[in-house]
Amino acid sequence: MTRSIGVRALRMLLTILLVTLVAFLLTKVAYANPARSLAPENASPETVAQIAASLGLDEPWWVQLRYFLFGGPAIKGVRTGLFTVPPSLGYSFREQRPVLDLILEKIPVTASLAIGALVIWMTISILSGVLATRRPQGLFDRASSTVSYALLSLPVFVTGVLLLYFGYYRLTLAGIDVFPSGGYVPLTESPGQWARHLVLPWLTLVLYEVGVFQRVVRGAVLDVSSYDFIRTARAKGAGWWRVSFGHALPGALTPILTLAGIEFASILGGAIVTEQIFGLDGVGRLAVRAALTGDGPVVIGCTLFAAVVFVVITAAVDIVIDVRARRAR
């Protein structure tokens, strides 16, 4: 167990290192001359070269990579070096702030969005997915599967745009001012306002994910329902609810948890579309702004953040599944 976790941790580290390398190179090529975009419109080439030299941007890429990983000259008093203590993701020339601070400050927004959506979509999917197995091909099963197909066929940005149109614009026009058009209020400031601002973004993600999960839950529960332990439970006189939610669902959790981990991690890494539509100032919006303005260090930082979130969460889910399997044996 400890050994397999050790091996897994090493592989995770390798994956993250490779992502860093690729993101670093891609960013270096994509935003070829950050000094140029930092300098004033009509700056002379000498001024641009001066800016580049003062920020260490005139070094060859491998030297810059070394700076990025193990630390180099401090930029405006901000250390660099991912593998120093405490780690640093460098300095955002645009925002004039350390990249790590920028990302950390946006995490509560993206996390509120991702965790709330996860709780809602899993509740709906599990309830409707398990209920659909009560009478396969019955009325509820067929209706819920039709709805799932429809939801699965709506891209997130379409749902978001339509929800904004109907949930905000049309309602406000009708004098019903329930949902704001966007923005974020911290949970600590006002839980009510926090939820009110997040309902439409949550719904945007939930509608798509229910389309994905409802059928997965149904399929996984149906798969185990012919196993002996389910027949035993039934033979002992347990009712349908008890058998389904107490025996079949726990036995069917592996594929559900795996997929939930992947979807949740992708959203937590930056829900670019949803954050953009509803003006939520999270990690995704930070990344978009950085990519559009050519803020290379922030793009690398956001890519790395998304990769770490993905790798850590999927690994954590794998470990949970392993532990459950071991305990069951």
Binding site: V19, P136, Y149, V158, V161, Q276, A291, V299, A307
Partner: protein
Amino acid sequence: MTADTISPSRPTGTALVLRHLRRDRTFVAGAVIVALLVALALLAPVIAAVVGHGPDAQFPDIAIDESGIPITGGHGFLLGADALGRDVFIRVLYGARVSLVIGVVSTTAAMLIGVAVGLVAGYWRGWADAVLSEVTNVTLAFPMLLTALSIAALNRAPGGSTYVSPPVVVVVIISLFSWTYFARVVRGVVIDVTNANYVKAAIGAGSPSSWIVLREILPNTAPSVIVYWAVQLPTNIMAEATLSYLGVGIRTPQASWGLMISEAQTSGLYVAQPMMLIAPCLALFVTVLGFNIVSTRLRAHLDPDKKG
């Protein structure tokens, strides 16, 4: 007797599957949607010629009223006009061409990459498998949209033009992020099949590896690969629309549903001319729905592991 004739999946298998599919009403409904869509996409230039509105032609005089609001219908504009006085209906038809071509090309490219990776990883195992599985991990961990934004920045030439045609970039981005699925499926099938007796026989008979992989193993991956191609296609169509919506995909004046939705939203004119927003949304929804139905039913009939 060659391996082909004792392979259980064809040719009788294909006929059997087709017969089952013809009787599957859900599948037929999905197939009709897809067929109509392909027909409309193919006929788009003909319809445009009949109506007399090109996809990029602007009619500010007749299609935009005195207060600058696009008309909602009339004058031969079935679904009204957009902010520039272009025909929304014709642009939706042309958007279908973009969606289908980019969807099909990127899914096929992803399939080719994935099948190659899956064959190598599954047959040779060892270090090749280890390296390729690490490449897969890195790909999965990479955030697609953010990387697409960087690549779009890379493609931005001075003066607002681009170095590489945007549709090509979109295809490259989407296929680079969707091959992993194929690789995993093919690798699994290859590992199963390599243990089958007829493959062991071919290895024992001294056939060269390339012959075994291409002639004995590759055909066995076909059913799974076809199913996953169909599963991936609607996802990739949505990806194209999303990239174009975010402004890093198809560029104006070319018509793409994602771009049309974004234009409607930024101009705000959909409030007065809802079809600017509703028509491309509906077109995208129906398209993805049609392909989702077809692929799910295809999977139920073809994929041995998936029933129902």
